[in-house]
Each structure stands twice: as C-alpha cells, then as structure tokens.
C-alpha cells in the first residue's frame, strides 16, 4: 500500500539540477538580454518548480487526480492574472473622455 519509492540517486540528481539552475538564473540576470531577461528567469523558475513537483513531491508517480489538482490550481491562477491584465493593459487603448478637472487628474491618474 505504500507509494512509489523514488531512489536516492534521483533525489540527489534533482537536487544538483536545481543547484545548477539556481546558478544559471542568477548568472543570466547579470547579462543584458533586453526584453528576454524576465522570460528567461521565469522559464528557469518553471523548470525548477516542475522538478520539485514531479520528483520531490512524487507527482510523476501519483494518480491522475493529483495531477489534475495541481494543473487546476495553476490554471485558475493564470485566469486571475490573464483577465486582470486584459483590463490593465488595454485601459489606455481607447481615447478617454477628459476628466472634469483635467489638471487634478494628471497627478492622480494611476498611469
């Protein structure tokens, strides 16, 4: 009845991979990749997360249901971020009506 036993070797390997990735992400931050610094940092973070989730947390060996719960969590989080950004990023696309007191609105507007 006990769960899948992951060999120690796997754990150590995953740990080393995580160390390498930590070094990599720190190093990459000091290189100017223009717009790509943030995506690179996030991509490495996602890989690290997957390593921890799949091996340390045994999701690779877990039933589909567990995988579904994990995916659902991240899916709904992405909904929150995506739909909020859909507003925040497009708010200035359309011309705005002038405020009643234009002078005051310049300093008070969120953007």
């Amino acid at each position: 009845m006990s769960g899948h036993v992951v060999p120690v070797k796997t754990y150590v390997f995953v740990f080393l991979a995580l160390m390498v990735l930590t070094g990599l992400t720190t190093g990459v931050a000091f290189i100017d990749l223009h717009a790509w610094n943030t995506p690179a940092a996030l991509a490495i973070a996602v890989v690290k997360m997957l390593l921890v989730v799949l091996f340390f947390m045994h999701v690779k060996y877990s039933p589909k249901l567990t995988k579904m719960v994990v995916v659902a969590g991240f899916f709904f989080l992405s909904l929150l971020v995506a739909f909020t950004l859909a507003d925040e990023l497009t708010r200035n696309w359309s011309p705005r009506a002038l405020d009643w007191s234009t002078a005051a609105s310049v300093t008070h507007s969120p953007r």
């Binding site: 249901l65 709904f76 929150l80 739909f83 909020t84 696309w93 359309s94 008070h108 969120p110």
Partner: protein, 548 residues
C-alpha cells in the same frame, strides 16, 4: 427529549423510540462542543447561521423602516452602516455557509454511504473558525459598525472610512478559512469515500452541486483572503497599493475582490440548485430529466463563474475591451443555468406531483430564480448596465437570486430533510402557509425595486425623491410580511424538535441512501456499508432504462 414525551405521541414508527441515535447518544454540552460527528456539526452550524440570519435580517428591517419616508428616519451615516452590516452578515455569514455547512455537512456522507466526512476534526475546526470570524464581525457591529458596503471598495475603505473596517475584514478573512476547510473536506470525501457501486453518475445531483461549490471554495476563497489582507495593510500603513494618489490602482482591488465574490454568488446558488434537483424528483416521483446535463452544468457554472467577474466593473474605468470579453462570458453562464431550469421543468412534465411544503419552495425557486437570472442578462449587457448599475434594479436582481433562489432552496431543503435530521415532523399546514407568506412577501418586497431601479433610484442612499415613495412603501410592507414568513418556520421547527410526531425513516417515500437509515440516524449513519446498484432517483422502479 425525554422518552416519556415520545411515548405519548402517536408516532407512525414506534420501534425507533428507544433507539440510540446521534442526538441522544450523549447529552452533555462537551459532547456537542467537541463532537466529530458531521451531523452534530451540521446542527451547530444550523444554530449559528440561523442566529446570523436574524441579525442580518434585523438590519434589513431597519433599512426598510428608514425608506418608508423620503427624508429617511435615521442619519445617512447610520444608514450606510445598516446596509453594510446587512450585506456583510448575510453574504459571508449566512448565504455562503448556509446550505453547504448545514445540509451539506449532514447529507454528503449520508448520500454517499459513508460513516463521516474524511476529516471530522477539520470539520469541527471549520465551525470554530466560523464562530471566531463571526465574533470579530459582531465586535465590529458593536464597536460602531462599518459603512463601506459589503464590497469594501477602495480607496474609500482604505483611506477615508472612519469605521471598523479592519475588525470586519478580519472577521471575513477568518471565516473564509472555514469555507475552505469545508470545501476541502467535501472534495476529498466525495472522491474517496463513496460506497461500493456508487459511481459518479449514480450520485445524487446534490452531491455534484456540493462538489462544484467546493471547487469554488478552494480556488476562490484564498484570493478574497489575500485581498482583504492587502486592504488591511494599506489601511494601516498607507503604502499606496490601492491609493491612486500614490500610484496604486483601486480598480485592482475590485478585480481581486470579484475574482472571489462573483464565484461566491455561485457558492450561494449552486447548493440551492442541488437541493432543487432532489426536491423536484422526490415530489414529482420521476427520474430527473437529463441527469448528465444537470450534473455537468454544475461544474460548468463553477468554472465559468471564474471568468465573468468584470461584469461588476463595467462603469469603473475598466478597459472597454476587457468589458466586452467579460460581457460575452457572462452571457455564457446563462446556458448551464437555463439547462437546469429547463430540465427541472421537464422533470415535472407528466410527473405525479404533490404539493408538500418543500415542493412549494422548489416551485417558488424555479420562478424566482428564472426572473433573477433573466434580469441578470440586462446587467451583463454593457449598454443597459450603464443605466442600471448602482440602482435598485441590481438590488432586486441579486435578491431574486440570493433570497428568491438560495434562501428558498435552503428552506425547501430544510423542510425536506428536517424529518431526517430530527426524526420528527413539523405541522405541514403551517409549513405550506409559511411558504406562501414568504413567496408573497418576497415578491412584494423586491418586485417594486426592479421598477424603482429602472426609474433611476440609486441604491445605498438614505433619502430619495418623493415620487418614489409609493413603491418604497410597497417594498417595506412586503419586507414585514417576509419577516413574519421567516419567523413562522423558526417557531414550528423549534416546536417540532421536541413535540413533533415521529417521522420514520422515509416520510416522503424519497429515493437516496440517506432515506434508508433510521431517523434520526445513528452516529455511524449506516449499520452496514450500503451497496449501490441503481441510478439516482429511480422512482419508476428498477426496470427503467438508464437514460432520462
């Protein structure tokens, strides 16, 4: 309940008199406060939320009293506190936990043939957390109340309000965790503890609804918790998260608030829909029409509910492009909701319908929910929303869903399962009378508000122009009828708990595992683990084919 009293009542089912059940197994206060029994915890919740319901209702009475006169009877500041406390208490402390924490707690294990929920201690913990949250909120009421509206919109709540915003926010924050724990318990229980043979598509639809509700509990509630946390932080430190003067975006608060609070609307109505499916089938003696569609529509509602929150923000300065998307998606929710209404109606067709009290509530639900839902479409349309937003039209719309829908279903469910919960019957004539009083009172209260809103009366004002007085007086008159309607069941339920005639295991002749055990059930629910071999709602007998 002493045995001598029971013996004097000419009950239908004498043999169960001396039987040990979950109620009489131990009478000490300690045995109640430390219980792990889901049925007892359900009763603890029932008592607590009933209390909160009448506290919240009290504020509503004062509001309607104030609005009898165009000039108002209380100071505007007081009125602001009245509608805020009414909203906070009714939404977070009554509607959200209402069906899940009481009927859900009682019925989920019974309907799936389990001895208890998966985590009984966590279940008890959730009640204590609820009580703690309620205590904070009631403290906020006593310490002067809050005037931000139940939505806590920034920057008013974070920078300007001088009332007890933080105690209230803390109360709501804490109570959120009680819902999360309830949802967690339900999801795990429904996945892991179903009786042998009880496949997903043999489950009662109430279970599907509770499952969908729990998904929202788990995925939505944490966001409101963190949002209120940010609000408290902003209020204490003024660091500018939501303050436009320092660069913050107050509309972000609304995004985060409605990311939970819109799905929370479905937390309130989905369980009611689950109850409906049980009531309609039981009192028309028919299998539900289109079981799979009704089941999946619950999940569809839960998921789509996370995609529509921006329709609360059409007039806030939210991007019109985002508004377009949110508007389209909001119309989508109508589809699964309509599926349910059509399928209940189709279930009634050629059924042998009887009009006991629970069924009266169920029929009331169909009509009122449909009205609430259809008026929602007006509000989901970008253009009409500009006219209707912030008026009594909205107040009427969501009360048709929340009171006409959720509360009607809650009362219907309570009447339906009361004999199972207490083992006793209530006087049916009184119950039917109360259902009618509530229906009439409700419509008299809220229908005029549709008209008021359409004519342009804004919500959340203590005073109004004289031309609106007739409709406002109608509404206040309806509210007093509604109030009486709610007091009648309170009285006969308390009476029947002690003096009602014995009910027997299955007074309605209904299907479902919960009706196969004695009433009230023993602590372990089932003497032996039931084995399920048939579809849900098999009223026609075993021979009927699987599809409905």
């Amino acid at each position: 309940m002493s045995t001598t009293v029971i013996a004097e009542i000419p009950g239908h089912e004498r043999p169960s008199v001396e039987r040990v059940n979950y109620l009489n197994v131990d009478h000490s206060v300690k045995s109640w406060l430390l219980t792990h029994d889901h049925k007892r915890i359900a009763l603890l919740y029932l008592i607590s939320i009933t209390l909160m319901f009448f506290v919240g209702g009290f504020f509503a009475v004062l509001m309607r009293l104030n609005l009898i006169e165009p000039t108002g009877l209380v100071a505007p500041e007081t009125y602001n506190k009245l509608f805020t406390m009414h909203g906070v208490i009714m939404v977070f402390f009554f509607l959200v936990p209402s069906i899940p924490a009481t009927l859900g707690n009682f019925l989920v294990p019974m309907m799936i043939g389990a001895r208890d929920l998966a985590f009984p201690r966590i279940n008890l913990l959730s009640w204590y957390i609820y009580i703690l949250g309620a205590a904070f909120t009631l403290y906020a009421v006593i310490s002067g109340g809050v005037d931000t509206g139940w939505t806590f919109y920034t920057p008013y709540s974070s920078s300007f309000s001088h009332t007890s915003v933080i105690p209230t926010a803390v109360g709501v924050f804490i109570t959120g965790f009680s819902s999360i724990l309830t949802g967690l318990n339900f999801i795990v229980t429904i996945h892991k503890m179903r009786a042998p043979g009880l496949t997903w598509f043999r489950l009662p639809l109430f279970i599907w609804a509770m499952y969908a509700t729990s998904v929202i509990f788990i995925l939505g509630t944490p966001v409101i918790a963190i949002t209120l946390f940010l609000l408290g932080l902003e209020r204490l430190l003024h660091i500018g998260i939501f303050d436009p003067a320092i660069g913050g975006d107050p509309i972000l608060f609304q995004h985060m608030f409605w990311f939970y609070s819109h799905p929370a609307v479905y937390i309130m109505i989905l369980p009611g829909m689950g109850v409906m499916s049980e009531l309609i089938t039981a009192f028309s003696r028919k299998r539900i029409f289109g079981y799979t569609f009704v089941a999946f529509s619950s999940l569809a509602i839960a998921i789509i509910s996370f995609l529509v929150w921006g329709h609360h923000m059409f007039v806030t300065g939210q991007s019109v492009y985002a508004g377009l998307i949110f508007s389209v998606l909001s119309f989508l929710v109508a589809i699964p909701s309509a599926i349910k209404v059509f399928n209940w109606t189709a279930t009634l067709y050629k059924g042998s319908i009887s009009y006991e009290a629970p069924m009266l509530y169920a029929l009331g639900f169909i009509g009122l929910f449909t009205m609430g839902g259809l008026t929602g479409l007006f509000l989901a349309s970008l253009a009409t929303d500009v006219h209707l937003n912030g008026t009594y039209f909205i107040v009427a719309h969501f009360h048709y869903i929340m009171v006409g829908g959720a509360v009607m279903a809650y009362l219907g469910g309570l009447h339906f399962w009361w004999p199972k919960i207490t083992g006793r019957l209530y006087p049916d004539a009184w119950a039917r009378f109360a259902a009618l009083v509530i229906f009439v009172g409700f419509n008299l209260t809220f229908f005029p508000q549709f008209v008021l809103g359409y004519l342009g009366m804004p919500r959340r004002y203590a005073v109004y122009p004289g031309e609106f007085q007739v409709l406002n007086v109608m509404s206040s008159a309806g509210a007093s009828i509604l109030g009486v309607g709610y007091l009648i069941p309170l009285i006969y339920f308390i009476w029947s708990f002690k003096y009602g005639p014995l009910a027997g295991p299955n007074p309605w002749g209904a299907k479902g595992l919960e009706w196969t055990t004695p009433s009230p059930p023993p602590t372990e629910n089932f003497e032996e683990v039931p084995i399920v071999t048939e579809q849900a709602y098999n009223y026609a007998g075993t021979s009927e084919s699987a599809h409905g």
